[in-house]
Symmetry: C2
Subunit: 337 residues, 2 copies
């Protein structure tokens, strides 16, 4: 089934069930007022929400209303956890290659992951407010939302704890990263609020595209209206989502509603460390990768980071060409005043 | 006023107002069912909660019940943000000194901070469940809870956004830290769930001990019943809480209920980088510091990390000797099975 959160009704918005075609929705306050409430009590709520989903698809649901992605907050407008992996090792290898460093062997067995801020996400169509001098970049990713997970849970148990799948624009401030990582404690100011897709879907909704705890479909990224990347999120993913969740669970429990991200989707494309769409490749899911590629090939980056007014569009389509999650579409603007 | 959360009534527990002496409390469901709900609507709720607080202190409140710290969850059993600074530079300097590294000059002007997990905190009297081989340590700290803070907020605005003050045991798994920091993305598995004091208090409750956005009182730490540290949290704090909150707000808004920690409280005590209680000093707020001191003095650490069954007690007393926040008291135990 498909779920979304309308951006009214309080800090956590209003949960709606959305039909498969993303044209109609229903509020479900009698089942759960918010997505977090549904996740807190998933075993009771999910079957009831699924009944509404089937009625919506059949056109028989009571109180149907048009679904407008522009009225959506992120599915969880705020969350108790947002932890983002770097499961596509090509992305990490490319970043290292550009500075002449080798990839440690352990990176193929021990996931990289950072703890992100989750107290306030921007909405799927909201503006990214930041200074250009910070080096504004997008990162197109896939993310899952978990139920409760026990400390030390097995990879299989973690696979079963995946409740929902969605897309994310993990906004990154590249020019703040070097100093921040040099301090040794990881990202902080360099990772402002992320934006998630309007719609989150249960794994069963993805059919055969969801297997081995990976989403095997191209992720489409457009920059100012031109396709910039369309790598397959199921290709070159070194750690699947169940493994990423198990990494979190090694030393602690996870609470229901934890969001775990894949890191920037990146396909290696032979020995190229990626190739742009205009060169016949699948392109990139962030500006940093093309800049790294340029640095390796030409000694320095040529592509600029995002300017105020620039717009990134992130969407995924099923085999029949239908949008699965709706679209993230963020324009960058200056800090007011 | 003083607020706490009883560990029943759901994942977010039940908000109670507690009297100054920590002997009586009242549920306040007619004002706010949970602490997060009160923080979400603080301007309306705080004055009403304060009326109950005054009635509790006068012994005239309706529905008073005995207050039992053992029935408390952390004031926010789960939170939308937990970010922890390293405001006591002596702690950072000592860690560096032990490995022969200099403290970068920027560390005196640019706070170190990491994003912690906040989806599930343990309670103030809960057990810390971890493997001894992970190198289990406590870190006694002070933390504040904020209201909403705008992107780019001034230090003065951040000072005014501090709603509550509490204590925290930021549990650390020292043997997991070196590998994790070497990966470059900061702490993750090495920082399992933290425990907060049973009671959170408004800054006005601290009287003259709260000024310059610092808490000027000794923080008492006992290990297995013996005093291990009693440094003054107002001394050698390079960045005050308003500055720490402003650091978070540089590139993003903060949502109400964000918890910002001080980092391990640490007094320099002249040129000693700390001195133990048995040597006549104010002692330490974590085992790592005494191990660093031993490494500097004797070439290697002598003090072991916590063993299963070990117990840490963290509390702060006012000038008259009364406990302000109640006690954190965590015993370490093995992972079951």
């Amino acid at each position: 089934m498909k779920l979304a959160t309308l951006n009214h009704g309080g800090r956590d918005g209003t949960l709606v069930v959305v039909n498969r075609a993303l044209t109609r929705c229903c509020t479900v306050g009698h089942i759960a007022a918010t997505l977090q409430a549904a996740l807190d009590n998933w075993h009771d709520c999910a079957p009831q929400l699924h009944v509404v989903y089937e009625q919506l698809n059949a056109g028989t649901a009571a109180n149907m209303q048009p679904f407008d992605q522009h009225q959506c907050a992120s599915p969880l407008p705020r969350a108790y956890q947002w932890a983002d992996g770097s499961a596509y090792i090509n992305h990490v290898e490319l970043v290292r290659k550009a500075r002449g460093a080798e990839l440690p062997a352990s990176f193929h067995t021990d996931p990289l992951m950072y703890q992100g801020g989750s107290d306030r996400f921007i909405g799927p169509r909201d503006e990214v407010v930041a200074a250009e001098s910070w080096g504004i970049d997008f990162e197109a990713e896939v993310a899952v939302v978990t139920g409760d997970v026990a400390l030390g849970a097995s990879v299989d148990d973690c696979a079963r704890a995946i409740r929902l799948v969605m897309l994310v624009n993990d906004v990154s401030l590249r020019n703040l990263i070097p100093n921040e990582l040099a301090k040794g404690f990881g990202f902080f100011q360099s990772k402002p609020a992320s934006a998630f897709s309007p719609v989150a879907v249960t794994p069963d909704e993805l059919g055969s595209a969801w297997h081995d705890s990976k989403l095997h479909l191209p992720l489409t990224v457009a920059l100012n209206g031109t396709v910039f990347g369309q790598p397959n999120a199921g290709v070159d993913m070194t750690f699947n989502f169940a493994q990423l969740v198990a990494h979190v669970a090694k030393t602690r429990e996870l609470g229901a509603g934890s969001i775990i991200g894949s890191g920037t989707v990146s396909n290696k494309q032979g020995d190229l460390w990626g190739s742009s769409v205009e060169n016949g490749g699948v392109g990139y899911c962030c500006l940093a990768e093309v800049r790294m590629y340029e640095t390796i090939e030409q000694g320095q980056p040529r592509t600029a980071f995002m300017k105020h007014g620039d717009r990134v569009h992130i969407e995924m389509f099923d085999a029949a060409g239908h949008s699965i999650f709706g679209a993230i579409d963020n324009t960058v603007r200056a800090i007011p005043g």
